[in-house]
């Protein structure tokens, strides 16, 4: 593996048509180790589609993905599964496995994908749940957890796989306002710990303080990108700035 100084993830010219509509129009981006890039843009811009094209949950029509300098051959099943193990993904609506308790949700992939033994997987899952502050909730099932707790379990589930990159798709958008903070604080800890991440979010305040770069997406393209201080500065004449001030009017941000 060629792991020089280059970006850990490079995505080039991703195109995707869905339902006869161009959802992604030649999107490219790259991500260095330890970077946090925040993806913003109106609903329907293609953020979710882009994130899912990166790990081929949605196969792009065209375009390439490089992980640590190696192009992903996603038609080879083995390469595809290996790629997905290295990219953690967090969904807006958690997607926990409903029939498994918190501990099993985190340990199942360790056992079935990483082939870890039962007790090793259990220990790892426990440590991971403790890290997100759920050490006392491990025997509860998804239906017994609050939205914020569910999202933290899903973060623990992804982290347990030791991913090199995390893709977070609006992780707080399905949460009641009072539960957003607990999830953002876990993400903040991750960012400070040097995790490489792409985060789609409408939490602009959060993005502003933590992002290395903001990507503004509209109509299937990244139309602006740059450091938050530039793009989102109060006097910046950018689409990102307009979009964010509209959001600010809509929600009172508490962070």
């Amino acid at each position: 593996m060629t792991q020089g100084q280059g970006p850990i993830l490079r995505v080039e010219n991703i195109c995707k048509m869905l339902g006869g509509k161009k959802i992604l129009n030649s999107v490219s981006l790259s991500l260095n180790k330890g970077e946090l890039k925040v993806l913003i843009g109106p609903s329907g811009a293609g953020k979710s589609t882009l994130l899912q094209c990166i790990n081929f949950l949605i196969p792009p029509d065209r375009g390439q993905v490089w992980l640590e300098g190696t192009e992903v051959q996603h038609h080879r099943k083995r390469d595809l599964y290996a790629l997905r193990q290295q990219i953690g993904m967090i969904f807006q609506d958690f997607n926990l496995f409903d029939h498994l308790n918190a501990l099993e949700n985190v340990s199942i992939a360790l056992r079935k994908v990483k082939k870890m033994g039962r007790s090793a997987a259990r220990e790892r899952a426990l440590a991971q749940l403790e890290q997100v502050g759920l050490g006392d909730k491990i025997t509860l099932y998804p239906a017994e957890l609050s939205g914020g707790q569910k999202q933290r379990v899903s973060i623990a589930r992804a982290l347990a796989m030791d991913p090199k990159i995390m893709l977070l798709d609006e992780p707080t958008s399905a949460l009641d306002p009072e539960l957003i903070g607990e999830v953002l604080s876990v993400i903040r800890d991750l960012a400070r710990g040097g995790m490489t991440m792409i985060l789609a979010t409408h939490q602009i305040g959060f993005a502003r303080t933590l992002a290395d770069e903001v990507l503004f997406m509209e109509d299937g393209r990244i139309i602006e990108q740059g450091p938050p201080a530039e793009l989102l500065a109060p006097n910046a004449r950018t689409r990102s700035r307009d979009f964010c001030s509209k959001l600010d009017e809509l929600y009172e941000e508490n962070l």
Binding site: L57, F97, A143, E144
Partner: protein, 222 residues
């Protein structure tokens, strides 16, 4: 009255042996139907066009032809044609099993399709193959949701198993008929047969209700 009771009591051990045969047919058929049905449902939901088409045709055929016709068709026709020399019991299990497989596959398919899509996505995102995801994430939930429908199918197959009588399988119906036609105690014997089916239905349905509550996911309501 006494004579009636006596006729029943005298025939009871013989009929109870028939009940064991009936139970054997039903367990065999439901088991075969479960194994085939799960595969067919998975094939119909996740398979390619050809697989979906084949499963569709299979279901269409077995739902469209009466079991009585199927029993004759397979026992006297198709099994012989492929050189399979089966006992009446095995043939009954196979035909009822293949029939219930068609219905069970649709119970499982409905359950699979009622699950939220996102869980399969999450499983794939963790690096699971589709097969692993289906086995560890989809089926455990789909099977739980299928228990009520499966219980219904059990009661139907139990009653359909009486048709095995026409092949000469010595189950409840065949034995009642045999005794009744010799002793002319038709009414008490067929009533006893009816009661035996009733009791077996009740036991099975109760057991499946128990199972359903035993595997219920905590906090889960739907």
């Amino acid at each position: 009255m006494n004579e009636t009771l006596f006729a029943i009591l005298e025939a009871l051990p013989y009929l109870l042996q028939g009940a064991l045969v009936t139970i054997g047919i039903v367990i065999g058929a439901m088991g075969l139907g479960l194994i085939m049905g799960v595969h067919m449902a998975a094939g119909q939901v996740y398979g390619n066009r050809a697989v979906r088409r084949i499963v569709g045709l299979y279901v269409w055929f077995f739902r469209g032809v009466p079991i009585l016709v199927l029993l004759f068709l397979f026992y006297f026709g198709l099994f012989a044609l492929i050189g399979l020399n089966l006992s009446a019991f095995s043939a009954s299990v196979l035909v009822l099993g293949m029939t219930t497989a068609a219905y069970q596959s649709q119970i499982f398919r409905g359950a699979i399709q009622s699950l939220p899509q996102g869980q399969l996505k999450a499983a794939r995102a963790l690096g699971m193959s589709d097969l692993t995801a289906i086995i560890t994430v989809i089926l455990p939930q789909a099977l739980r949701l299928s228990i009520p429908g499966w219980s219904n199918e059990y009661s139907i197959i139990l009653k359909d198993s009486a048709l095995a009588f026409v092949l000469g399988t010595s189950e409840i119906m065949a034995r009642s008929h045999f005794v009744a036609s010799r002793t002319y105690h038709h009414l008490p014997l067929y009533m006893t047969a009816g009661c035996l089916y009733f009791i077996l239905t009740w036991i099975g349905v109760q057991a499946l209700l128990k199972l359903e509550s035993k595997v219920r996911i905590p906090g889960y309501t739907r």
